[in-house]
């Protein structure tokens, strides 16, 4: 496998450079490898650094001695954060909001994308236009805030789920996928007496598992990561998602007032800001890092599918 790869790529390299690579090109390849290694290091360093800080003694952090490895190894800060009931409440909220918002988004996006994929449909161009126009012009923060507030959605999951129910980019990805399905199957199903809903549920969706999975991930990751809607529309601490919990923690630190709300008496005062923040970052980022290797390729293929259209 490795050898096959190497042989193949060498053949490409040789084919593209003539009989053998010039001296200049060989120098370039070395420089290129160094640059790319640098990029990998710079990308990964912050993660390593955060983990090291989260496992270090606060005294070493304050002294500016923690970078790659933990110093004064201890897990006191983990215990402190994990014994904070608010942290767990907010974590549960994140899961709940993500599930509800993703479900709503998935249903609405699938329905609309399916409609838009029907080329014969009268008014289709207008329906596409209605969606695409919102990519380039939006009402803006204030009217949205006024709207959500006056609909009485504040402090409910709907304030997060409804205003972001359809991402036009995702919609176009899904539409492109549906358009690529063979028409014959649907025509045959129609002849057999299935109505539109039946065709969508029993013929189209089973054929579209890949794109549905991709959309699920797109939405789930974006809702999991979102913080601003909750920050804007949730007034009570126990309704916040964990991203806002973290935000309050770091905002408290920049204002140099306290270590942020809700850490409770479990937190030793000395065991303060820096370590606690690092631990919260680690615990928040952990689920994403865990699933990342598995979901990454879905994302890449999803983006490509969307680009075919663009």
């Amino acid at each position: 496998m490795v050898i096959a790869d190497r042989v193949a790529s060498r053949r490409v390299a040789r084919a593209r450079t003539g009989i053998r690579p010039s001296r200049g090109y060989r120098v370039f390849r070395v420089v290129n490898a160094i640059v790319l290694t640098g990029i990998v290091v710079v990308t990964l360093y912050p993660f390593v650094n955060i983990v090291a800080r989260s496992l270090s003694d606060n005294a070493y952090i304050v002294a500016g001695q923690v970078n790659l490895v933990p110093r004064g190894f201890n897990i006191a800060a983990y215990k402190a954060v994990m014994s904070d009931p608010l942290f767990w409440t907010n974590y549960r909220n994140t899961v709940f909001y993500t599930v509800v918002a993703t479900a709503v988004a998935l249903v609405l996006t699938t329905c609309y994308a399916y409609v838009l994929s029907k080329k014969h449909l009268k008014g289709r161009t207008a329906l596409v236009g209605i969606a695409v126009f919102t990519m380039f012009f939006s009402g803006g923060l204030i009217p949205n805030y006024v709207l959500v507030t006056s609909l009485g959605l504040k402090n409910t999951v709907w304030a997060i789920a409804l205003p972001n129910a359809i991402s036009v980019f995702n919609l176009l990805v899904m539409k492109a996928f549906f358009e690529s399905l063979p028409v014959e199957l649907e025509e045959a199903a129609a002849v057999d007496g299935l109505n539109t809903y039946g065709i969508l549920l029993r013929i189209v969706l089973p054929l579209s598992k890949a794109v549905v999975a991709t959309m699920l991930l797109f939405y789930a990751v974006s809702f999991w990561n979102s913080w601003f809607s909750a920050f804007l529309y949730m007034d009570q601490m126990d309704l916040l998602p964990v991203t806002v919990y973290l935000r309050n923690l770091i905002a408290g630190a920049t204002d140099a007032t306290s270590t942020g709300g809700g850490l409770g008496s479990a937190t030793d005062v000395v065991q303060s800001a820096a370590t606690i923040q690092a631990v919260t970052i680690v615990l928040t980022v952990l689920p994403i890092l865990t699933v990342y290797p598995f979901i990454q390729r879905y994302f890449v293929s999803g983006v490509m599918l969307g680009a075919v259209k663009g």
């Binding site: 593209r16 003539g18 790319l36 923060l141 006024v146 709207l147 205003p163 970052i281 980022v285």
Partner: protein, 329 residues
């Protein structure tokens, strides 16, 4: 037989000759709305909820911008109570803070465009030169990672790295300097913002370029070599023109988001000490509107921002259509 079987064209008196003859060809004649509704009502019914979403949560707020010209009272009508004309427009045009944040928006947007647009192209070209596919895949996977993080996490990491005891200040001290409170100094904000933006977006930005690179015809390289082009000339004359449509599309999209410079990230990273360089239109209107409850005034500023954003996309699109014959629509 006369059931609304969605996908069959209804029988016609004068069917057009089918080229293949095997199955009915899609008819070209325009249907009337009544026919379309009778035939496709189930499809239209699927569009109802999504359309409601667009109307309520996208188009209603656009109309809601009339509060920029009306007196708005929290708790009152979402379209405001009575007309005040251009009062709020005049108000922000004569507000010195507005012009400060306007300048900051242009500077930050410009810097972001300057770095975040070309760097993915460079990285994609570098990746393209890698011989080992495994190594290439590894570098790609690592560089996509920041894209999956919440902005809150990115901001928190930036703060940790730049804190007095953080890595950057450790380096500063190692070369004999004094620790700098980076996030409290207005002079540093732009560099911090742009570099964190690059860190987060550069890898993900390569995807489309890498895809475009694989579609370039190998024969073109062959031809270039026969003409005596070295590696660099091949890149310049074959590779770059090959990915030009992608570059143009992404440039237009980048310009479209120019005015909306990372609102959430700035909101997380700035503080009163860095307002002189960090405060942008969107964060200013957030404070004016949501924090201080001047909804009409903030809506006026927001409307101005949206209109400029739309104008930018439309003009970028028009220019690119003229100049290079590529456009978004």
């Amino acid at each position: 037989m006369s059931s609304p079987g969605a996908l069959r064209p209804p029988p016609t008196a004068n069917p057009p000759a089918a080229p293949s003859g095997a199955r009915p060809v899609r008819r070209k004649r325009r249907r009337t709305w009544r026919q379309a509704l009778r035939r496709d009502w189930q499809l239209y019914s699927l569009a109802v909820l999504p359309l409601l979403f667009f109307l309520i949560f996208r188009y209603l707020p656009m109309l809601g911008n009339v509060i920029a010209f009306r007196r708005f009272r929290p708790g009152g009508s979402i379209f405001g109570d009575y007309w005040v004309g251009l009062r709020y427009i005049r108000m922000f045009l004569s507000d010195p803070t507005f012009w400060d944040v306007f300048t900051n928006t242009l500077v930050l947007g410009g810097l972001t465009l300057l770095f975040c647009f070309p760097l993915p192209i460079v990285l994609a070209l570098l990746l393209n030169e890698l011989r080992s596919t495994r190594l290439k895949r590894f570098v790609q996977s690592v560089s996509y990672l920041p894209h999956f993080l919440s902005i809150v996490i990115v901001a928190a990491m930036v703060m940790q790295l730049l804190s007095i005891d953080g890595t950057v200040n450790q380096l500063v001290r190692a070369v004999g300097g004094e620790a700098v409170p980076f996030l409290q100094q207005a002079g540093w904000f732009r560099s911090i913002y742009v570099s964190s933006e690059v860190w987060q977006t550069v890898g993900w930005g390569t995807i489309l370029y890498l895809a475009a690179l694989t579609t370039i015809d190998e024969d073109l390289y062959e031809a270039a070599r026969i003409d005596g082009a070295n590696r660099w000339r091949q890149t310049w004359h074959v590779t770059l023109p090959g990915i030009r449509p992608t570059m143009v599309t992404l440039l237009i999209l980048n310009i479209g988001t120019f005015m909306a410079v990372g609102f959430e990230k700035i909101l997380l990273l700035y503080n009163p000490l860095t307002y002189p360089t960090a405060d942008v239109i969107s964060t200013y209107l957030f404070r004016v509107g949501i924090v201080s409850n001047n909804f009409s005034y903030a809506a006026a500023i927001g409307l101005f921002e949206s209109v400029i954003g739309l104008t930018l996309v439309l003009s970028a699109n028009a220019i690119s259509r003229r100049a290079v014959g590529a456009s978004l629509w």
